[in-house]
Symmetry: D2
Subunit: 342 residues, 4 copies
């Protein structure tokens, strides 16, 4: 039984962490902070948690996070980096669901996120928490940079192809579609029901913060720079990401076998039978990534379809998976959830 704290519990990744951790057999949820809502019962803000979470939101100054074994940061970008050093020094492990520790290139991070990094030395120590790539490092990590939602879906789709060296690394295309919860629980007009409902659009075509994160991850696989065009879209889903990935094959290969072998031991990556089209709802509420690989008309373009729930495998679920690995728990603990369909 470990003592767990959550910083910033009023957003969608916060409530999703609570949904998962509330039933984790080895977790004692001790504290959840909110500056604005200190004193409010968590279950008043999120009635779905009535009967499962009895905590009140606590002001950060009274949280005593140093008494926890693990702290999750479910905060906006730029918060965790202010607090992580003290926690690590107190012997607390940290999983940051925001972007503070995702990019090893500090200059790039500062450009994309528009602020000065507060602890660039700790970035080097942070382990990028994509278990399918970094499981061993995660086991011994003190500080996890939990991946972004798009980067998770896109990397898991490209990794088998790039590891095997069967596609051109210089001309990758990722056409990704996200549900609206990906924008967070923030009062902004574009995320209103009457704006995002019955509507579909691309955004950030000129550049999106997840682009350097994906490129960094894929470059580690190829050992060199990759060329990627990344176009995110907003689709009227609550949850779900669908990444449609395009690559140019450089040689003939059994794509289906390649993917199945790569992920044969991965508990949360499911390679669908040849010819399949994964649906976002087939992973709704679960930590799975489902993938299908196609080669239309037998040409030299490979098409990979990769779906996740952006709040689970794309955020809170992957964070719990990382926690399970860090603390030697069953990797599936609290994540053995059947997706909700319909």
């Amino acid at each position: 039984m470990i003592k767990v704290g959550i910083v910033g519990g009023t957003g969608y990744t916060g409530v999703e962490l609570l949904r998962l951790l509330a039933l984790h057999p080895q977790v004692s949820l001790r504290v959840i902070t909110s500056r604005a809502d200190a004193g409010t019962a968590v279950s008043q803000m999120f009635p779905s948690l009535r009967g499962f979470v009895d905590l009140l939101f606590v002001h950060p100054d009274e949280a005593h996070l140093e008494q926890c074994d693990l702290v999750f940061f479910a905060t906006p970008n730029g918060i965790a980096m202010q607090q992580v050093r003290a926690l690590l020094e107190a012997g607390v492990k940290v999983i940051d669901l925001a972007a503070d520790f995702r990019l090893q290139d500090i200059a790039s991070w500062e450009k994309w996120y528009g602020m000065t990094h507060a602890c660039s030395d700790l970035v080097a120590e942070a382990v990028y928490g994509l278990p399918e790539i970094n499981r061993e490092k995660i086991k011994s990590a003190r500080l996890i940079a939990n991946p972004g939602c798009y980067p998770t879906a896109v990397q898991l789709g490209f990794i088998p192809l790039l590891e095997a060296g069967v596609i051109e690394a210089g001309s990758l295309i990722a056409d990704a579609k996200s549900g609206v919860s990906g924008a967070g629980r923030k009062a902004e007009i574009p995320a209103l029901f009457a704006e995002a409902g019955d509507n579909f659009k691309a955004y950030g075509v000129a550049g999106h913060r997840h682009l350097p994160e994906i490129k960094q991850g894929l470059a580690l696989v190829t050992g060199g720079d990759v060329g990627l065009t990344f176009v995110p879209h907003l689709t009227p889903l609550i949850r779900g990401i669908h990444a449609t990935l395009y690559g140019k094959l450089t040689r003939d290969v059994d794509l289906q076998a390649l993917f199945e072998q790569r992920y044969s031991n991965e508990p949360f990556v499911d390679v669908l039978p040849a010819g399949s089209h994964p649906e976002t709802r087939s992973v709704r509420g679960s930590n799975r990534c489902r993938i299908a690989v196609h080669r239309p008309q037998g040409g030299d373009t490979v098409v990979v379809l990769s779906v996740i729930d952006n709040l689970v495998k794309g955020a809170a679920g992957q964070a719990v998976q990382n926690m399970n690995i860090m603390f030697g728990f069953d990797e599936n603990a609290a994540l053995n959830i059947v997706p909700l369909l319909p």
Copy 2:
């Protein structure tokens, strides 16, 4: 050709006014104000209007509204009452789509809207712009209080029954459901797609501002106080209100004939055949109210189903209808729109 101005054009009733007025053959749209977005092209904020509206938003101080023949206020409550007197004195007619002039009882208004009324003397002059009740008064009005969305749907459903005196006026029930655009184009968390989508809830059961407005309107019909339980709900529609109305019959009557006769000359109220269930989408984008009346199992409870598009007959369309009546235009001008289905 009349010169028209709009105050507060960045909300949903504003853009809806623009959609309708852009094609009105007798309207010259002269000015549209926005304090926050002055200088921005209207069609940049609302790309749907590209090719139809060439105006920029203008700061209120530079709007010269007194040069208009008619000004619509598509503003939050409490704005119009600050400006109407000067406009009326300049000979400009005014239609207020907000609530400033809807309640004749100033004390009640101040209680429900939480502010002091700025021009209570003008309230007495204002005509409540429900043409099905007040067409003659509207013709000569200088100042129109455009009805609320719920009040329009609910009053049109109850009026035939109360005018005929066939239901108990003391025990009316209005169970009303609204699309999310009814909350306006405001950045508020409960109206987010990820909050309001795939979700249904009641709200304001203890009391809603439209309750006194409905009661006032119905009391004019009955000549005495009415008893009304009004329960609004939020449903994951963009547009549309469905009011389900319950009354206790006091005597036998041909309900179908009663409704058909009452509305036989009304261009925008459509009484459906007996046994029908009107759908909100059957009025989407149009100024129609469609109504069906039922008497389940032949008992003494009458059930009226009344649907409107909250942004059209419930707001901007009714405002244009009022303008048409005030200026002697064809009442149908700019409102001859086939609903968008599917």
Copy 3:
């Protein structure tokens, strides 16, 4: 560990039973039948179940249901009544999720369901599976008539008031709204996305099959006939029922205390604090019913708001709850699920 079979597993109640039973610690899922899809893997039809359910659909003739301890019927109305007698005689317990055993009045059943009943003698034995009323009888039942979705939400809302005798039993109104999954997984035009999406309508105002079921249930509580106007509506939700209930108070009473006391020992009925408005999403995917009670403006009309997930507490979850009670399992087994929000 009991052996369980499901008849008719290709509908929404079928896949929902599978979602719940797949993780039940005392259930061995042995067989699931489908006439049309025999031989198909369950997880091919419902990819959400990949990794959780390995069964193929089996033709009913080869199902050997008599070897089970319990069989669920997730079939259209009229199927279970053909097969139940043989199963009971073989010592198999049965939970019917359809309507075959819900109405004790056979003539009424035959009128509403349009067919002759095949085993009216067994109807008398069947126990109506609403645990909040019938827990003791369920414990020893061989045959459970699992309640309908609307009847569950409506009865749970009215029961405290009628048991206490504080409202007129002759003038109840239930204005109920259901998500589209309530129509089942059937290829019918009104349930298409482009028909039911962004649309709201009432249906069945003249009479709905759940009306006699609700009236029968409430009459048991009052000991006499009840008068009920029941108006169901279709709302663009996937899952969820919201029942808005109206009754006329006959005497003063502490409504909040009344509800809290009535359900204080019920694991799946949650009475919200005074002034609350339950949301359907607060029970999404869970077996909870959440209820709030209001008395608007202190008048004599009581308003009860009752929400359930129509596929869980309104169908499969309640069936599992009944199974747990019948076999002496923890009533919460496999139902300890945090609702999915957002």
Copy 4:
């Protein structure tokens, strides 16, 4: 005033034709056929048309289509080709909204549509009704093959680039997303609200019927074969197509100017300012195609975003545009509609 008939009026393209034609000043709508619903009032099936269309559906055998000046076929594939010859011989012009006359290569058509073509000689005469390419031919055509929805959005996006010869024609990618109405008003499980709602998926990756249509159209532009990977997706919209197009630039060019010049005289193609992201709702209910062109990070990949309403510019609206051109009407007649937003 021309006399117009519609064959097959009960689908979404049929009701959309009715919505547009009902207000066309030069069209007299004479007859609309339906085999299954003969005798039913059109406005009973589509209450949105109450007050606009008074016709009953007529059995095809009693339709006297030869008395019309123009007949639209809004039928499933394979119907129009059975009837067109007789109509042309009677001097009636025909616009087929289905695919019967879209592919000049009969063998390809027969392969993709799985039937023998009934009048391959007429295919050669048919004019592909994309006005932005074929306006002159349309003016004198007797028989129009109205383009498919995806082909319209995709071709309009690629045409400027291919005409100018600035991208590789051999490696085009079209990642397209369609609302569910694109599947038609057919009772099929995958199009149910509870299946397609809150869900996103690709389909037909191995091959879709619109692939050869797009390739044929683009090959006419380039004068040679094109290589295209086309991946359609289903997104929870009622209406709307968003095509995201990728091409590899072969030389430097002012992309914004290229697009603006190409479409400067086109009434229904709107090139957005540089940096824009068109939304599907910005064309909802209208015949516009809105396009933006991007060159992310200044690389050699061009990204085109193209949106249409699949039922208007992608079907019925384009058919009316073709009719207007054929009969010398104002091309904008009945199409001067402001998109419905929100």
